[in-house]
Symmetry: C2
Subunit: 551 residues, 2 copies
Amino acid sequence: MKVSGLLLVAAQLRGVLALWPQPRSLEIGSAALKLAPTFDIHVNIAHPPSDLEDAVSRTKAFLRNDKLGRLVVGRGASDHAAVQRARSLSSLQLSLTHGSAVKSITDETRLPIGTRSEGYTLHVPADGSPAAIVANSSLGLLRGLTTFSQLWYEYAGQVYTVEAPISVTDSPAYPYRGFMLDTSRNFFPVSDIKRTLDAMSWVKMSQFHWHVSDSQSFPLEVPGYTELASKGAYDPSMVYSPSDVQDIVSYAGARGIDVMIEIDTPGHTAIISAAHPEHIACAEASPWTTFANGLLASVARMFPSSVMSTGGDELNAECYAQDPDTQADLKATGRTLEQALDVFTQKTHAAIRAEGKTPAVWEEMVLDHNVTLGNDTIVLVWISSANAAAVAAKNFRLVHGPSDYFYLDCGAGEWIGDDVAAHSNSWCDPFKTWQKVSMMVAERVLPSHRGKQSYTFDPLANITKSQAHLVLGGEQLLWTEQSGPENLDPIVWPRAASSAEVFWTGPGGNLSTALPRLHDLAFRMRQRGVKAIQLQPMWCALRPGKCNLDS
Amino acid sequence: MKVSGLLLVAAQLRGVLALWPQPRSLEIGSAALKLAPTFDIHVNIAHPPSDLEDAVSRTKAFLRNDKLGRLVVGRGASDHAAVQRARSLSSLQLSLTHGSAVKSITDETRLPIGTRSEGYTLHVPADGSPAAIVANSSLGLLRGLTTFSQLWYEYAGQVYTVEAPISVTDSPAYPYRGFMLDTSRNFFPVSDIKRTLDAMSWVKMSQFHWHVSDSQSFPLEVPGYTELASKGAYDPSMVYSPSDVQDIVSYAGARGIDVMIEIDTPGHTAIISAAHPEHIACAEASPWTTFANGLLASVARMFPSSVMSTGGDELNAECYAQDPDTQADLKATGRTLEQALDVFTQKTHAAIRAEGKTPAVWEEMVLDHNVTLGNDTIVLVWISSANAAAVAAKNFRLVHGPSDYFYLDCGAGEWIGDDVAAHSNSWCDPFKTWQKVSMMVAERVLPSHRGKQSYTFDPLANITKSQAHLVLGGEQLLWTEQSGPENLDPIVWPRAASSAEVFWTGPGGNLSTALPRLHDLAFRMRQRGVKAIQLQPMWCALRPGKCNLDS
């Protein structure tokens, strides 16, 4: 059965091949196939990079330890007879296409956004002959291994599929598939970040946007600027040291995830005043360009990524207008606040470009201010999904992170202590469900899907064909006013997988057929130690389609 | 300083004595006092019950292991000099008032609701002479120990208070302070339930309402009816055995918590059809009185509590009207559906009364149906807080559990898979914040609190003075369509502590002063292994009042 692209309904209603994200092209059969007791994964590369070998080891461990019973009544008991008779698969062969350079996953992951090669083909024959993943890159092989690990269920000690042969030809629709974590409002130990990177890698995310500091705390130990953390962290135990950073970026890189650090300037820096009151006005930034340049350059040197965010959201112009130091400085230089902001941004961007990095900024820097920006600057859209088109119209590359779709923190009330509205509202109500990411604009539903609940945020809404190349992808975001290590997993997973699929597979999915696959992902995450929440009663998870309105 | 009852503002703004629930009467001083290295707790009872001795051991472990720095900038550094000079407390003495019978906590906890003695006095002198808890009962001593364990902070290895002397005279405003957990929609291992019981005991809750089974699964192994679990549980590993039940009720009893089991009849029993299709119509109950009686009696014998809920919510009359078996039965007996329901309820209630238990029912059984109920029946109000007055008007004792205040599952979207509204709404939107429980009806705010954000759900709204004795208390509830072990702690704590305070301390609190105490509780819970969420950025938690609107 051929089920390429969007025409997956029949296969998925069987609730079996529960891949997430859905591959761009998939052919499946209906034969049972089990892993041989001696099953192994062979890397057919003369000198394989060690992070690829590690990825193979992790995949083998998942195959052994997932022990996921199929999500149907009986959990695979009805497959047992067929599996007993089935052929055994003894190996998976990994190969690079002829002439591909052998580079590590890590090195390939750190290439500029849009230049990484993540595609792969995967073939699992039904007759027991070796399965194969072929790619142009180690990174592509990693993505293929990730798909391979999702093919298998376990029953009575046997690891099997009932959908062989399986052929996948896959590559992402968008290069930036991200998750943003705020580690300033509340702190997260390194182990939480690494576990999050694991979960991100299982859904083929490519970008960890680390909003490391903000007005509340500065938990990053920056060489040459260590006083920022020693005075601005919540506690000496709540600091990311340079070796922690190295640990995190290595862990991420080996999993195909690039780390974009963000030092949010010139707003959202009040905590720097704990170490340097002379630099911060209005609990925000007064003229402090030299200091900021040095800090950003030092941070840039800690992170191997080709991108770095200088932030730029929520500048409080009213505050600067009333700050004597700022006003004196503007008077001395003969500049308006907008002109001073322009100078500040040009200098900070020059500082990080001098470290070989492309800057990223929040949308206000192009929509609300007249700041001179390099035309390769990446713009993060957050205020509203409606603003993406305006950013594209200015010919900037953009990443979707709109609060009306992708903010994971909304809907749990207000964190202001005595707010009279706190009994019901957060500023970005309501809670963003996994289905919300999935509610496609009706007009854009493909003809074959009319009348069905379509699954996807539309990355190209109101964006012209000629601007489409500017859309790099998107990310779901966790601002942590009301979050910490205690609820990190349940508030993020499996919800953040929604956008991972939208930006890998592209728009056009379907709620009813996505749900069984999302259950499968959540169960698999839990088996692997990530506390993804239950989306439904287990009764429903075991009976795909039975808890739908139309059932 | 005398701060009895509601006049706690001054003491609480200092952010120091962070008790939860707030004692009914409290006097504090301003002297530092530290625990001596040899500090011990002595039970001045000839033959102390073993569960009281266990409670003493747990308290000593909390004093050693909480290691909670005071929630202020510096985490207690500013107390250090005073603490160095402070007197040392070498012992806490526990005594029963003269003539009190020595019974175990467990036995006292299992007395009927409203007849338990939970009061105590606690005195901690400033001069280092022994502290004392005096009560009429082991259960009262437990409540006093719980308060004592919340008095102390740790800095540089010293466990101390800066508020000595401390005098507490305390007893609950309402006897039923509960939490309900649904273990049918999704399953929770025994360890999760025990951890929940621990957290409940730390806020002096008295009642665990265990909604063990529902239409989705029947995870309780009932002697004589084991086929219900073997065919109706999600998995053989997802069953509560009789020894699990014994473990849970013993664990609860030793912590001052009575376990009210609920077998929700005649609706919410569809899963019984997995074992007995002959008894269940409409995925609900057809005439099956004899079977139900035997089942309920057997369940009743597993639980030592004096109460048991037979449920009775959401009866689907339309379904019965269209069920041939039900209609045939009604025709044969010459009864209307209402009459048949009356007979069914009278018989099932007689069955559990024969086991020495008082029945509890959901509100529909008195507000929507004409069922003959014993006048001691306890009615659980869930549909709306507005319905409590109608229940009281019918002269039934009631427990508040209204969905508009106390449902912990609301606001995370719909669990129906393909619901077009699922992108935003749950049936009981919005999310119920801890402040929501706290938003007192303006008219009832005490004169001294006008203009402040008052803290409390009002248990006596629209209930006459002569009916007030009918209000037993209340509970927060977790229905688990979208919950499981993964998010149990973060979705429940510290939110469920809100009602624990409302029903212990009574109405009249204040949001601004409650918040620092609730932070303190949440931090303490995390130190003790319960994953209570962050309510604010840690910056705010360390600066009480600074993240308020009026700051």
